[in-house]
Amino acid sequence: MKKMITTIVAEQAKIGENCWSIWLQAPGIADNVQPGQFVHVKLNQGEKLLPRPLSVSEADRERNALRLIYAVVGKGTKDLSRMKEGESLRILSPLGNGFEIDETASKSLIVGGGMGIPPLLELARRIPGKKEIYLGYSATPFLLEEFEKEDAQTHVSTDDGCYGYCGTVIERMNQDKALGDIIYSCGPRPMLKALSAWAKERKIPAQVSLEERMACGIGACLVCTCKIAMEKEDGWHHRRVCADGPVFWSREVVWND
């Protein structure tokens, strides 16, 4: 039987403007975590009932620890940022289906935007062969050091031009005439939508990791759906981001809304 895991906060740090990193420790916690999977974090406040989904950014099997990287956007993430080393935190983990790694690709493109970047770190580590990483930030980058440790070229763009290329990650890819056999991507929906069109034009298969507000996190409540194309039934049906995703093939996602 699975259950909520009680983890211990091993490290909490602010690693950028409104960007926090937390390491959670528990026996066996890092086993079988695939890049792109997420955990559901239960906060201990009476006012807030629902756990918060956060992607796994790194899984360290030796230390039995997971790293989550998050932005403080509301009450839940604010509370999380106040947690201190040694305190305990309950999570459901690992949840969802991670990226499907294509071991045969001769070159992979990894494309991330904003708070979609963290899960790509563990992914970048696990992808074999040649890879290029495109990271788009609104302002000051975070996690760059970690990405630069990987054996891959990392291209950075920022909306405000404070670092790297000034513009969107797609513009940067256009400028570089980026190409590859497969794309792995996570980021805000408008970016994923544009990337999806970009990939379609170039006939490159792309995996995108979607976000939707969640309740159960395990596929039972149907609140976290997205529209996925299918042959019958008006051309699409609702699928669950938590249990059928969060990673989908971009060509199957119905983007027009």
Binding site: K2, K3, M4, K42, E47, L49, R213, I218, V223, H238
Partner: protein
């Protein structure tokens, strides 16, 4: 000093001729068809699994966002997305039948005709009980209209009874002036039990984007925030009808379940609490049993009758 030997209390309950090993059930729509939570909970331990609403044809449900958290509660506007009764019977029912627990199927429809057709299809299956959902606030046609008008409620029950081979429980809406009136109406047409409450119609607004937090504008409020309203209604209905009542609304602990049973409920269902903790159902069950032991209750019926007013 004498030592008190605590006998394990008898948790079985009976409703409409069906025996349940204990009163703890899942609330429809919060537990899927049991498969997902089956990884976290031994379904054999539950009194019943009440599955999500099924309709005659597949329903796509509402646009997202479908959920918004509120103070001590949550709003949902799933809109009864489901693959239809045929797919349910084919794909989900066999899974549930593996377990030694009762199966209650929640039935949705947009017309009396639709309700009847679903009931008819389920009549020939190994389902223990049906729960007629006449109270979903998230779909415009049907659902809510049946649940907020005593005459409509009575007529859908009357027709559905004609096709049902299992006992029929009716799920009541709290969004009414007088819930006892609806309860009496469905009882008089042969409802075998009533369950309550469904969600309270609510709303939340995103002040930064200046629009509702739910794609469907309004949604159903559930969770501990609504427990006092749920408990009041269960208490009122238990004093009005002679059929068994399944109480729900904000139950997150054994103590909460006890409150509903003291108010007169025969069964209790756990909904939103599952999202807070996937093992909530069994924890509620354990808490209920501990309470009974510590207070010397030997049966659920004793608890039901223990209230002093």
């Amino acid at each position: 000093m004498t030592e008190t030997v605590h006998k394990r209390p008898d948790l079985t309950v009976e409703m409409a001729g069906v025996t349940f090993k204990n009163p703890v059930m899942t609330a429809s729509g919060t537990f899927g068809s049991g498969k997902e939570y089956g990884e976290y909970v031994d379904l054999n331990q539950l009194g019943a699994v009440v599955v999500k609403g099924v309709s005659l044809t597949p329903w796509k449900g509402n646009p997202t966002p479908r959920v918004a958290e509120t103070y001590g509660g949550m709003l949902n506007a799933v809109g009864l997305q489901n693959p239809g009764v045929d797919a349910f019977i084919e794909n989900d029912l066999p899974f549930l039948r593996q377990y030694d627990t009762r199966i209650i199927v929640n039935v949705s429809g947009k017309s009396i005709e639709e309700y009847c057709r679903v009931v008819e299809k389920l009549a020939v299956t190994e389902v223990d009980m049906l729960e007629l959902n006449i109270s979903c606030p998230n779909i415009k046609e049907g659902g809510i209209t049946f649940g907020t008008d005593a005459k409509m409620a009575a007529s859908v029950v009357k027709e559905a009874k004609k096709y049902a081979s299992q006992p029929l429980m009716v799920k009541l809406s709290p969004n009414v002036t007088d819930i006892t009136e609806i309860a009496k109406a469905v009882e008089s047409e042969g409802a075998d039990a009533v369950s309550l409450i469904n969600t309270l119609l609510g709303m939340a607004i995103d002040i930064h984007h200046k629009k509702p937090l739910l794609g469907n504008i309004m949604g159903g409020l559930s969770g501990p925030a609504i427990k006092p309203v749920a408990l009041r209604m269960v208490y009122q209905v238990c004093r009005t009808v002679n059929i068994p009542v399944v109480g729900m609304g904000g139950i997150i602990s054994g103590e909460d379940a006890v409150e509903f049973i003291l108010a007169g409920a025969t069964g209790v269902a756990v909904g939103t609490a599952n999202f807070m903790n996937p093992c909530a159902t069994v924890e509620v069950l354990d808490g209920l049993e501990s309470y009974m032991i510590s207070q010397g209750f030997s049966s659920i019926e004793e608890v039901q009758e223990a209230m002093k007013i």
